[in-house]
């Protein structure tokens, strides 16, 4: 319908366009009538978690991205940069988490340039929840946001519809129950850095081995005041196996009976030089 109209009345606006929604609904109905499936979005069916320790935050994530029942990416990066002191893990639709964290990162950068201060985790949290609520959960991004600012270490979990929780340890994603079981058992207040890293590594490993949607390696991100350690990969829990048998035959397995060499007489007819255009 839009193609037939002249855009006379309203000026063109940017942002989401809902022109094709009706067409898509009709296409989907037709396709399901024939028994096929429309392509699905790539999700990160995931285990992500975070924990507050004595000096800062440890964030952890697995690295598998799925498309329905198939692994789309064996080593994707789920810990996204928001600002030098704030990082965010993302579960849910991969494109949504990617774009949302990039937009918030840009906005935080502009904000910190105009206030000339290091951004606070609460600011990032507020921006994320306001954007996700505006889109009423249609942006499928479940996030674990953590960082260290002038008020200390902070950890938030943010759900796709826009609700947030500020807690000392959080897990999200399809493997969140397995990871939370590990946290509930072994979390203590004011842990040391090595203990916290081991705890997060074990929680993600629980998610990887007990949930089909999570797998491959464990990435960690340790944030303290003035220092960020992005450990990718921290632990390769699922290394691809090495073949034990070799099917190549040794040199000399086949015996040589006769050998004849025929020389081909080739003469140079023409020689041209073509210069490459390297401008």
């Amino acid at each position: 319908r839009k193609m037939a109209t002249l855009s006379v009345c309203q000026p063109q606006l940017g942002g989401f366009s809902f022109e094709n929604c009706k067409r898509n609904a009709v296409l989907e109905a037709e396709v399901t009538k024939l028994g096929c499936n429309i392509p699905s979005a790539r999700k990160t069916g995931t285990t992500i978690c975070g924990v507050v320790f004595k000096d800062g935050i440890v964030l952890g994530a697995d690295t598998r991205a799925t498309e329905g029942m198939i692994v789309a990416d064996k080593n994707c990066s789920k810990i996204h940069y928001i600002s030098p002191n704030i990082y965010c893990c993302g579960a849910g639709t991969a494109a949504d988490t990617e774009m949302t964290t990039q937009i918030i990162s840009s906005n935080l950068e502009l904000h910190s340039l105009s206030t000339s201060r290091l951004p606070r985790v609460a600011t990032a949290n507020r921006m994320l929840k306001q954007m996700l609520f505006r889109y009423q959960g249609h942006i499928g991004a479940a996030l674990v946001l953590g960082g260290v600012d002038c008020n200390g270490p902070h950890l938030y979990s943010i759900y796709p519809h826009g609700s947030t929780d500020k807690l000392p340890y959080v897990t999200m994603g399809s493997g969140s129950l397995a990871a939370m079981a590990v946290f509930e058992d072994r979390y203590k207040q004011d842990m040391e850095e090595e203990d916290a890293k081991r705890l997060v590594r074990d929680a993600i490993a629980a998610g990887i081995f007990n949930d089909l949607g999570s797998g491959s390696n464990i990435d960690l991100c340790v944030i303290t005041k003035g220092r960020v350690d992005y450990l990718r990969p921290h632990d390769m829990a699922n290394k691809k196996g090495v073949r034990t048998g070799n099917y190549k035959y040794k040199q000399g397995t086949t015996g040589v009976l006769t050998k004849s060499v025929i020389k081909l007489d080739l003469e140079v007819v023409e020689e041209t030089v073509q210069t490459m255009d390297t401008s």
Binding site: R1, M3, A4, T5, L6, S7, V8, C9, P11, Q12, L13, G14, G15, F16, S17, F18, C21, K22, A25, M99, I103, S106, N107, L110, H111, S114, M131, R134, Y135, Q136, G137, H138
Partner: protein
Amino acid sequence: MNTRGLRSQLKDSVPVTGMGQQVGAYGVQDTLRSGFSSVKNELLPSHALELSEKNFQLNQDKMNFSNLRNIQGLHAPLKLQMEYRAARQIQRLPFLQSSHLALDTLKGNDESISFEDILNDPSQSEMVGEPHIMMEYKLGLM
């Protein structure tokens, strides 16, 4: 699906005026400008977010102005709206892309990035309005 409860489900199925056809002269639909009409297309929004997104900026402004009026008195939103109106008048002709620089600076859009800046950039749109018709429409000759 929409999980907000019965009230919102009823709202989605009620015919909405915001989607209405462009009405030309004599109160009949304007086939020349908006194409053939279809009752289903106009009455129901095609996506749960379509209406809320169309009116998002207006609603935000309304809320901000009413807050400002409650805090600082009537003069504050009045002065701001006067400035917005002045900035809105310095645009190019309707079929050309204006930068809206003054308007953006006043509204604070120059310090934030959102989906409006990334997706569907109007300056990259494949369709261009017909200049003569757009000018006649703007001047009220049509």
